[in-house]
């Protein structure tokens, strides 16, 4: 218990250190842009494919349940609410942990193992400002954007399933979706959660990577921790936010 509190405190102090290292100089903005490409843009394929399949599945499962009570045409509602409130932000964040969180932790771990972080410090360059902060900020910006892409592809997948496979009228599908999804309750919940998940998953990834043992094994442990701890924290935070805010 004491160790858990200690590590939460260390992560909190590390967040303060990251925030204090933000200068938004031209150099740092260029580093952030490069990292948004690396952790955000390069995660697009897995996010898009993941969203598409989730949309296909929830549409199919929702239709089977609704059909038993003769409400198949309300499929848009059954897709939209769980997608925006839960599945979109949670699954996008978990996929982010697997694709980008692991890569951030591995990069930082290898930088430590190959003396790159030590070299920065010896050149009087703050390694947190140079290599950690750009990755953290890129993650915080990328996760909500990736969540939006995930949801868009999920809706597209659900539409394909509903209209082309299950032969539900396209107007019914869009009508029920538009009438049931609320801007504040659903969209707001989706992107509030995505913002929190972005901070937590990125912070955990940079923390475990930056503090890894300077060995191959240390890098491997950090990579695993970024995925496991990041995913579990996303699920825990999802419960907390749902219980407290909505």
């Amino acid at each position: 218990m004491r160790e858990s509190i200690q590590s939460i405190g260390q992560i909190g102090l590390f967040l303060v250190r990251i925030l204090l290292s933000l200068r938004f100089s031209r150099e740092q903005l260029a580093d952030i842009a490069r990292q948004i490409y690396s952790v955000g843009a390069r995660s697009l394929p897995i996010i898009a494919v993941g969203g598409l399949f989730v949309g296909l599945v929830i549409s199919l499962q929702g239709y089977r349940a609704l059909e038993t009570i003769g409400a198949g045409s309300a499929l848009g509602t059954a897709v939209g609410i769980p997608l925006y409130r839960e599945l979109g932000p949670v699954l996008a964040a978990i996929l982010f942990c697997g694709r980008a969180g692991s890569s951030i932790a591995a990069e930082l771990g290898l930088m430590r193992a190959t003396d790159q972080i030590m070299a920065l410090s010896m050149m009087a360059i703050d390694p947190v400002g140079k290599v950690v902060a750009p990755r953290f900020v890129a993650g915080v910006i990328s996760v909500p954007l990736l969540t939006a892409v995930f949801c868009a592809f999920a809706i597209f997948g659900a539409y394909l399933q509903a209209v082309w496979v299950l032969h539900i009228d396209s107007g019914f599908f869009w009508g029920s979706l538009r009438s049931s999804v609320d801007l504040v309750q659903d969209f707001g919940q989706c992107f509030t959660k995505a913002a929190f998940f972005g901070v937590v998953s990125s912070l955990l990834a940079v923390h475990v990577g930056f503090h890894s043992e300077p060995t191959i094994e240390g890098t491997s442990v950090a990579t695993t921790q970024a995925v496991v701890q990041g995913s579990l924290m996303v699920l825990f935070l999802d419960f907390l936010l749902t219980a407290l805010l909505y």
Binding site: T114, D115, Q116, M118, A119, M122, M123, A124, I125
Partner: protein, 264 residues
Amino acid sequence: MTESVAVRFERVTLKRGHRTILSDASVDFRQGSVTAVLGPSGAGKSTLLFAIAGELAPSAGRLQVLDEAMPQPSVRSLFALRRKMGVLLQGNGLLTDLTAFENVALPLRTHTNLPEPILRELVWMKLNAVGLGEAGDLLPQELSGGMARRVALARALVLDPPLMLYDEPLTGLDPIACGVILDLIRRLNDTLGLTSIVVTHHVLETLPHADRAVVIANQGIAFDGTPAELTRTADPLLRQFLDGEPDGPIGFDYRHQSKAVAHA
């Protein structure tokens, strides 16, 4: 501190955790000289270098670097002091996502506001000084071990620091690359008026290029003098180290080393 001393250890004790690496050690590194810091593996040569760079605070004694006491009171003042030092790490520490040119340019981009054409000119000058004027566009993974070491050397020199610290600059290099690196260290030291501290266990290769030699063994300074004095020594500990004898006061296995230290 006299003007001619760049780094002074005065009865300094260095510890890593509970393990004492150096105990009550006193030694001066004179300005303008190339000093070879020698000693068996695990003797504490790199620890001494990290203490000079401010990575490890002395547990006891006084350590002065370029007229400033270590440890520095804040990270800001430590970084200000480090701008006057160039450090060549054993693993080079080249950033793998940057080209050789950008690696060398990094300290200039961070610490100066030089216009881009002047910055580029300075970087090319440093790369030419280490014989790599044509290799600026290569990534670190495209460089040989010796070339990567020379890029790291150019990067360490790019701010024209008065003090250069080299941690095992010859490790993993073939004899030709060793000669090139040692010639560079000597030439740059003399032409730029630097003070160079070279931590190494490559005794035979390094001594001809050094002005002074310091040997660390058994938690202390076992020798401090000229390379000629070192090669003439009859001290059994130093002779064992210089001649590479398996038996003698320096133990090969860890337990033996600990016992030797305890009896010293």
